[in-house]
């Protein structure tokens, strides 16, 4: 899974270096490696940020911040805390969510619309770099969750809501939502065969 996720084929058919091979070079200031890293991560990072923020201009701004952060802190990355992909997506999600929360006071999002949309996560995706297999797997594994687990995980991850907000939207007790988020992710982990 990780192999496929991290190696996207170039038009030439050559298999580029994996993210885990590229990162130590980026940490040494290698511009070529950084560009390759960008090529592999630009769609996942931009896609996730845009999924949370929606606004394309803001999404590009935040995605750029993410790539600057990856460049800046590549020197501090250690593999024992997770794969490069997981590290990059953690930073991307965090920055997108930070943007949502800092903008929250000024713009009220329509939470009912958000809830309706969260049931259809992949419809708007214009192009998938990671490949159909990964997407199919995610779809299948999300399907193995209970409806409330799935709804909670997707509201938190794709809409950037806090668990309090999720609890409010789903009219559920806080403790229940916390448990659902954890149980939902654990079930996804087992379904995807993810290890760390």
């Amino acid at each position: 899974m990780r192999e496929r996720a991290q190696r996207s084929r170039e038009p030439s058919g050559q298999v580029p270096a994996s993210l885990d091979e590229l990162l130590p070079r980026v940490a040494r200031g290698d511009d070529v490696a950084y560009e390759q890293l960008y090529r592999q991560l630009s769609a996942p990072v931009f896609g996730l940020v845009q999924r949370v923020l929606r606004d394309p201009a803001q999404s590009e701004e935040v995605a750029q911040e993410v790539f600057l952060e990856l460049w800046r802190s590549a020197t501090r990355y250690t593999p024992d805390r997770g794969s490069v992909l997981s590290w990059a997506m953690t930073i991307a999600h965090r920055k997108a969510v930070d943007r949502v929360r800092s903008a929250q006071a000024s713009s009220q999002r329509d939470t009912r619309a958000a809830r309706a949309e969260s049931a259809r996560p992949f419809d708007e995706v214009t192009e998938i770099v990671a490949g159909r297999l990964e997407r199919e797997q995610v779809r299948r594994c999300l399907g193995s969750l209970t409806e409330l687990q799935r709804e909670s995980v997707m509201l938190a991850y794709y809409q950037g809501y806090t668990y309090r907000e999720v609890a409010h939207l789903l009219d559920s007790p806080l403790g229940t939502v916390k448990t659902r988020l954890r149980d939902g992710l654990i079930r996804l982990r087992d379904c995807m065969g993810v290890t760390a």
Partner: protein, 247 residues
């Protein structure tokens, strides 16, 4: 600290990985995780899992984004490879008079509205309310013939402590510390050996506080922690900084 957090902090791994915690809960969970290898392992696994959800949303960005990213990275220095320890005040050995001038300059900066120290109306209100008595107390310490200084950097900010035995006061001037999460204050501690004695709180990342020096009971070090809004009787989090007492 919100009620019940400690009872079920363990179940917060999912919400943590999904960035679904408030800032305060996130910090509390990270404190907890530091001493919980099982949580650390679970968080790592759930992060890999969440990354797959992110991957499924992949969308190709505008083609010129790369040029903007590349241009920006040419102007940004990478972090030094070794992360500095969280406790990281390096005492500066300044000539006393220079240090006191610097501290006084900081103080003037704090008093001058609009130079970047005062970040909100609440800060302004606090500063003005304090200013009458506190500025006098601070000047009193700075002008003391036996004033001693200790100073150092914390991240992009700095902390300067000036103490005078004859005036029995210590002034702590803080500038540009990390932004405080909601519901938290900085609390200063005198450290006598391992024993912490509260030296007061500061509800802003820049500002000043004055403490009675006799409360220090001959402490050797000063430490700073993040605490709930009313302060704590004992530190409840790892110090963000530690420095020698001015002497």
């Amino acid at each position: 600290m919100s009620s019940g957090l400690n009872n079920d902090v363990h179940t917060l791994t999912g919400a943590y990985v999904l960035d679904a915690l408030s800032e305060l809960e996130r910090r509390a969970f990270e404190d907890h995780m530091a001493g919980c290898p099982a949580c650390t392992q679970e968080v790592a696994e759930l992060r890999e899992t969440a990354a797959r959800l992110g991957l499924a949303a992949s969308t190709v960005p505008p083609p010129d984004m790369w040029n903007r990213v590349r241009t920006a990275t040419t102007q940004i220095r990478q972090l030094t490879p070794i992360a500095t320890e969280p406790v990281l005040i390096r005492a500066k050995r300044w000539p006393l008079r220079v240090a006191i001038l610097a501290a006084a300059a900081s103080l003037l900066g704090a008093a001058a509205v609009g130079v970047g120290w005062i970040t909100s109306n609440q800060d302004l209100h606090d500063q003005l309310a304090q200013s009458q008595t506190e500025v006098q107390r601070i000047q009193n310490v700075l002008s003391a013939p036996d004033a001693h200084v200790s100073s150092g950097d914390v991240g992009d900010g700095n902390v300067t402590a000036v103490a005078s035995k004859s005036r029995d006061e210590m002034v702590v001037l803080v500038r540009g510390l990390p932004k405080l999460p909601n519901g938290r204050v900085y609390q200063a501690w005198f450290l006598k050996g391992d024993k912490p004695i509260s030296a007061g709180t500061l509800a802003a990342s820049s500002g000043s506080m004055v403490s009675s020096l006799s409360a220090a009971q001959g402490a050797e070090n000063l430490a700073f922690t993040l605490e709930p809004i009313n302060g704590s009787t004992q530190p409840t989090s790892t110090p963000i900084a530690k420095m020698p007492m001015p002497a």
